[in-house]
């Protein structure tokens, strides 16, 4: 099944692209939420609004937008035209699609940190870099991890935004499932879907495991 129906390639492409997209999303969303919550600057609310935009736009519209935007290059200048049809544009779409969720969870995690917790560390003698490394970062670690996994799961199951954008160079599992289902080959579609469910569920389980051992549980390890 894997070789005959190109299942292996489909899974591998989907997996690799999502795997690349998710850390980029998680990092980017943490940077955005840190800027939005902790820094004061003029374009703050603009950045916050733009990072949320992808949530409001339907996936297919986003996909069509990318096709029109990049097939002739940015603004039809030919700039970045090479991006069209590559894996990179798929990764960009993945990132943009799951950025709002990550940013939202990052913002709420950072807002929950009482300002005085960081102040107290600062007061104890830590410089601002040390405060970030020993206080802020550990406190948003859970949100970062869950952002990572959410981004991964959203990317690997994404279909609406990429179905129009994908080229034969890349086979994505969701597109394959869709295709087989359309052709009436439900057994294959179902088999693929089952494996996809296993992958997404497995990654959530993995996240829980990681959180348990590297999260707030120093206590468990010390006892």
């Amino acid at each position: 099944m894997f070789t005959k129906y190109k299942g292996l390639k489909a899974f591998r492409d989907s997996f690799v692209l999502s795997l690349i997209a998710s850390p980029i999303t998680a990092l980017l969303s943490m940077i955005i939420s840190y800027l939005v919550v902790k820094r004061r600057f003029k374009a703050k609310s603009f950045i916050e609004a733009v990072s949320m935009l992808a949530m409001a736009v339907p996936g297919t519209v986003l996909g069509v937008g990318y096709i029109r935007g990049f097939s002739g290059g940015v603004f039809r200048t030919g700039f970045l035209q090479g991006l069209y049809g590559t894996g990179a544009i798929l990764i960009i779409v993945f990132v943009v699609r799951s950025l709002p969720t990550g940013t939202r969870s990052g913002i709420s995690a950072l807002r929950q940190i009482d300002k005085s917790i960081e102040e107290s560390a600062y007061d104890m003698g830590a410089d601002s870099f040390k405060v970030f490394m020993t206080v802020t970062l550990p406190l948003i670690k859970d949100s970062f991890l869950s952002g990572l996994v959410t981004a991964f799961v959203r990317s690997i199951t994404a279909i609406s935004a990429i179905i129009l954008l994908v080229t034969p160079a890349y086979l994505l599992i969701t597109v394959q499932i869709n295709e087989f289902a359309e052709k009436g080959a439900f057994s294959i579609a179902c088999a693929f879907a089952t494996i996809l469910i296993l992958i997404t569920y497995g990654s959530v389980l993995l996240m829980n495991l990681v959180m348990k051992y590297f999260g707030t549980s120093r206590k468990i390890r010390e006892e």
Binding site: D114, S116, E119, D123, M124, G125, T216, R218
Partner: protein, 358 residues
């Protein structure tokens, strides 16, 4: 234990904030100068918005003054960031690091000072036993009660042996009973450690119980500084008298001076009073009477009508009317004394010298 007691000196400090609604600048603290002796316990007391927390945060370095200079142990510290200042702060919200256990919370400042492991362990254990938390070092912060968390916050501040210990309303999140216990603890620990402490509160009984000196602030300026007794017995103005304890105010006229005391005419009676600043003969003045130093009797300085009379156990509470002015009287040990009912007329009595004029 503290390596060196340091004094704090503020010279003409001002801090200007912008009102978020009107965008107008206003002084949170205006031209404030004060001196805190090394090793003393000083309280900044005032209603909310009086600038006491801003003053404390300027000493800690979280805010920088717009005018003036702050000295710590004689050194100007305006240019230093909080992590470079020899101060440690105990926060209202405790501000413990939630991902660390108690030991790591207390050890945090020591680890930053790159002490060796053994010294850190010894110091942390010593300080935990001083605040009464021995055996708790492996617990996480969320496994502690509010009072215990505040002890950790105190231990964490003490362990780095700061020149000055700063408290930002540390007891306001605790229940009333624990507050009383903790303030006794704080005083004991401060004395044992022999450390300079600056304490911010809006609770006057807390300020009285803890402090060597109280600094009362109102609208960004210092109203009065002094020992708790000075402030209670000789308030400089109506605001201080009213803020510290209960006070009755009576309008009167200064008649003359006799042997250092003033003789004031109040409601037709001549009353001997103490004064904070000399008031000229013939000038209008206000007499401050504390409810607990006044009583009612069949004869006295002036007659009043009793409006409310209720038994409070330790004292009989009267609300009496002198014309339109309402006075509050606490007559202590009411057992065996004559009790007046509402509507009756009685005379106000007080010891000469317990009245004070401003």
């Amino acid at each position: 234990m503290a390596k060196e007691k340091k004094g704090v000196r503020l010279e003409h400090i001002s801090k200007i904030y912008q009102d978020p609604k009107t965008h107008k600048d206003f002084y949170a603290v205006r031209d404030t100068s004060l001196e805190i002796e090394p090793g003393s316990f000083v309280t900044l007391l005032g209603p909310s918005g009086c600038g006491k927390t801003t003053t404390l945060r300027m000493i800690a370095g979280f805010e920088s003054p717009d005018e003036g200079e702050i000295y710590l142990g004689g050194e100007p510290i305006n240019a230093l960031t909080p992590n470079k200042r020899d101060t440690a702060m105990v926060f209202q919200s405790y501000a413990l690091l939630p991902h660390y256990n108690i030991f790591d919370n207390v050890a945090y400042g020591l680890k930053l000072r790159k002490l060796d492991k053994e010294t850190i362990r010894r110091k942390v254990m010593d300080i935990l036993s001083l605040v009464g938390l021995e055996g708790m070092e492996a617990r996480m912060t969320n496994q502690l009660s509010g009072g215990q968390q505040q002890r950790v916050a105190l231990a964490r501040a003490l362990v780095i042996e700061p020149g000055v210990l700063l408290f930002d309303e540390p007891l306001s999140n605790l229940d009333a009973k624990l507050r009383v216990t903790m303030r006794t603890e704080i005083r004991r620990i401060q004395q044992e450690a022999g450390i300079t402490a600056v304490y911010v509160t809006h609770d006057q009984s807390e300020a009285m119980a803890l402090s060597d000196r109280i600094i009362i602030m109102e609208k960004g300026v210092v109203s009065q500084m002094g020992t708790p007794q000075e402030i209670y017995y000789h308030p400089k103005n109506r605001f201080v008298a009213d803020f510290i304890g209960d006070a009755n105010f009576l309008d009167g006229t200064m008649l003359r001076h006799e042997g250092g005391d003033g003789i004031v005419s109040v409601a037709g009676a001549e009353v001997r009073v103490a004064e904070t600043e000399r008031i000229a003969d013939g000038a209008a003045t206000t007499v401050v009477l504390r409810p607990e130093s006044t009583a009612l009797g069949d004869e006295g300085f002036f007659p009043v009508r009793v409006a409310v009379s209720s038994f409070m156990g330790a004292y009989q509470l009267y609300h009496v009317l002198l014309g339109d002015t309402k006075l509050i009287i606490h007559e202590y040990n009411p057992k065996g004394k004559k009790v007046y009912g509402a509507g009756e007329t009685a005379y106000v009595r007080f010891e000469p010298g317990s009245a004070h004029c401003i």
